[in-house]
């Protein structure tokens, strides 16, 4: 197990290196191949009516005058060793991991991202708990009550959940529960350490909105898996042995169904930790998703690089955790 984890972590480093190369190429190299000069790129970050000497100064300050391979080398070096940066009055040191400085506000990217992580983690984990518990429970019950009114109703609601976009359900939730009925007025993020009650209260609507989408998906997957598993011979054997029905369902039926659920859960949670863009936008939550949107809107290349790298890291780590969990769920799996 330990060697497996070490091997995967080493592979993670290489994977992130590849992601960084690809992302750097997309945002720095491809435009240059398309004819955009460093001067033209720098002109976007100089404000109104710049004169050529000012654009050149910014071009040099942002390092855009260097060859692409050198810019990339400096970027990686910054992540590994940190970098010194001239803010005008003195030279600052940006320690490891330094993802560079925003082209727009001259502030280091890493602290901006880390300040957003708690918001996204709060949103993602809270929603994950809801959708996992809710989705799996509904899926199990629907499978056990196949063809009943409950089954049809729950799968109908699940279909709606899968079909309705998050920004739609989020806006409906805000309209009804925040603006119209004032059950959750003025939804905004409050840190858990600032006020845990307010933290939870302000996240209830975003949690439910996000969980509704995923719970629907998980309910359908669980139901399908349970229907297949509960028809297996070993389930009949377990019942014949006189095991309680609850044990048959949970220990034998659900456990076998969990493997694909855990797989997609890892992927889903990993993706969300990189930023639940739509949900954060609808509810104005200042997390990594909002950071991503702003970075793209502002064409802030270091911020885009940083958030892509961080999102990739979360996905890789989430999948590592999933692989470890396989051994717990299914003892036949060896890593």
């Amino acid at each position: 197990m330990i060697f497996f984890i070490i091997r995967r972590l080493i592979m993670t480093v290489f994977l992130l290196l590849v992601v960084s190369m690809l992302t750097f190429a997309i945002f720095f190299l491809v435009p240059r191949l398309g004819g955009e000069t460093p001067y033209e790129l720098a002109a976007q970050y100089v404000g109104r009516t710049p004169i050529p000497s000012e654009i050149h100064a910014v071009e040099i300050k942002l390092g855009l005058d260097a060859p692409i391979w050198l810019q990339y080398g400096r970027y990686v070096k910054g992540i590994v060793l940190g970098v010194h940066y001239n803010n005008g009055t003195d030279v600052s040191y940006c320690p490891f991991p330094c993802f560079g400085f925003s082209f727009r506000n001259d502030q280091p990217v890493w602290p901006q991202m880390t300040s957003d992580i708690p918001v996204t983690v709060s949103l993602a984990l809270g929603a994950a708990v809801l959708w996992l518990i809710g989705g799996v429970a509904v899926g199990v019950l629907s499978a056990l009550r196949k063809g009943t009114f409950f089954d049809r109703l729950s799968m109908g609601v699940a279909l709606a959940g899968v079909s309705l976009p998050v920004f739609f359900t989020g806006l409906i939730a805000l309209y009804l529960f925040s603006y119209r009925w004032s059950l959750f007025p003025n939804v905004h993020y409050v840190g858990i350490t600032t006020n845990p009650v307010q933290w939870a209260r302000n996240l209830i609507l975003p949690w439910i909105t996000l969980a509704f989408l995923y719970a629907a998906l998980y309910a359908r997957i669980t139901r399908a898996g349970m229907l297949e598993t509960m028809g297996e011979d070993y389930i009949r054997t377990a019942r014949a042995k006189g095991l309680p029905e609850r044990k048959v369902i949970l220990k034998h039926g659900l456990r076998a169904t969990l493997t694909p659920i855990v797989t997609i859960f890892g992927m889903d949670l990993g993706l969300l930790l990189g930023g639940a863009i739509l949900t954060e936008s609808v509810f104005s939550l200042p997390g990594l998703g909002q950071f991503t949107i702003l970075a793209i809107q502002n064409h802030d290349l270091p911020e885009i690089m940083g958030v892509v790298m961080l999102a990739a890291f979360f996905i890789v780590i989430a999948n590592l955790i999933v692989d470890i969990l396989y051994t717990v769920i299914d003892p036949r799996v060896r890593i």
């Binding site: 033209e40 002109a43 976007q44 970050y45 100089v46 404000g47 109104r48 009516t49 710049p50 004169i51 050529p52 000012e54 654009i55 100064a57 910014v58 040099i60 300050k61 001239n86 803010n87 005008g88 009055t89 003195d90 600052s92 727009r104 506000n105 001259d106 502030q107 901006q112 300040s115 806006l171 805000l174 309209y175 925040s178 603006y179 004032s182 007025p185 003025n186 939804v187 905004h188 936008s281 609808v282 509810f283 104005s284 200042p286 909002q290 950071f291 702003l294 809107q297 502002n298 064409h299």
Partner: protein, 588 residues
Amino acid sequence: MKRRSTLAATAVGALAALVISACSSNGSTTASTGGSGGSTASYNAGVSQVVNPSTQKGGTLIFDSHASPDSFDPGNTYYAWVLNFSRLYSMALFTYQSCPGNCGLNLVPDLATDMGTTSSDGKTWTFHIKPNIKYENGSVVQASDVKYAIERQYDRSVMSNGPTYYQALLTDPSYPGPYKDRAKNLMGLTAIDVPDATTLVFHLQAPFPDLPYVLAFPNSAPVPPSADTGSNYQLHPLSTGPYKFQSYQLNKQLTMVPNPEWNPATDPQKKQLASKIIINLNVNQADIDNRLLSGDIDVDAAGVGVGPTAQAKILSNPTYKANADNPLNGFGRFVYIDTKVAPFTNLHCREAVEYAANKTTLQNAWGGPVVGGEIASTVNVPTVVGYQKFDLYEALTKPAGDLTAAKQQLSMCGQPNGFTTNMAYRNDNPQETAAATALQASLAAVGIKLTLKGFPGGSYYTNFAGAPAYVHSHDIGLAAGGWGADWPSGYGFLDALSNGNAIASSGNANIEELNDPVINNLFTKSSTLSGGARNAIWPQVDHQIMTDAGILPEVYQKALLYRPPNLTNAYVQTYYGMYNYVVLGVKS
């Protein structure tokens, strides 16, 4: 021998007079010349009167903004709302008179003691700052701090966002800035002398009567060199205003508390009422609108008006409507007709566009007569000194366009069956996109076929429409855009738009590339005039731009603003086209 401030004082007095006589009403109702008395809530009350006048202190004033500022550093910002908001924590040399109506266009001293004096040749200006003005840390503001604040502007690699007028106006334009020139105690800019602790002497390359306007930008707010942290100064500028930073989470939230060192007697245009000011950044616009309507927040900081859903809600609900104002926001929306791109090198082809454009559909594209704006027939806007109403191309009498006249012009320019050209617009601006589509349809009626080319807003002026080389190489004959006055004089609005000397290789605002000697000479002449004579130049410039058919005016833009009932001292500051942020309070 120095002349007393005849130029300056006469200019200010003439401004008020000209504004009264020449400016149309600001908004749907007639603006008063000075704010007098208060008003209870009613539709558009805030355009001409103070709504909910109050001296009540206390409470938390909450702003929401749909975006981050370009910077909260007073020396590094150009966003209109930040120019307004930054006055809460900074004192520039000048500011605008805090009053509703057209008196809000008047320039008054803030840190300065008066409007300054100028030499007989107009190239030397002397200002004095008020003594014993203190920063939030108790240290006294020195004249050298104002000089240093202006010096910071010279290094665009650090201070990249703000206006760049000093480099163009003052002697010593090649000064590299104090971050690169660390010699001479950081006072290396020879264009400004500081003979004593309260005196500043500016040396100009050429006479420029509008210098006090330039000094009304927050980049003249003092910065002590010892407190300057370069690009990090935005995190906590040292306050000279009624409020100071308490905490600032970049891109998230700024909290300000009263500045105990601020003296209201020295800063009569501002108030210190709220116990705390919070501004939340990057909030969804729909969320802002709903929070405004529910009273959860007090001000939409951007000041450009509520979104479409809230507009419909407000205008259809008498209770909400009574808390709304619909002012002109000072912006004009245009289509630039590039005089250097064929066939628009021919005046008659340009005039064909002027006649053919359907102004009503353009107005609708911008949101209609209430929230979009009034159909424009001039380049200058009614909230700028020097505005004079005229209508060369029947925009007001035939708003649907005059296709007959358009076709005549097409014949005269040798294109009787029309022609094809490209039009640039910002594809992330929904109204501009709609306006471009509307123009495409209306010009098609006379055979002018537009190929619409959308570009991202962030680089639109730097790399595309505002880069003449790109425009020429891609045959962009028309370009959508807009303009708001950097200051409310005709020069502040029209120079960058139409002076041949203002054409730039990037970030060009004279997108039509007008280089008309008539216009250029009028600007040159204006620098030697003052008061009413100077202000009489601007209608001539405006008229010549329209005669040249370099710009197709679309609308004088308006905004639908909402002021919650608990907001006190709410009124539209005409220059900013949004509520005056430095006088607001909240009812407890």
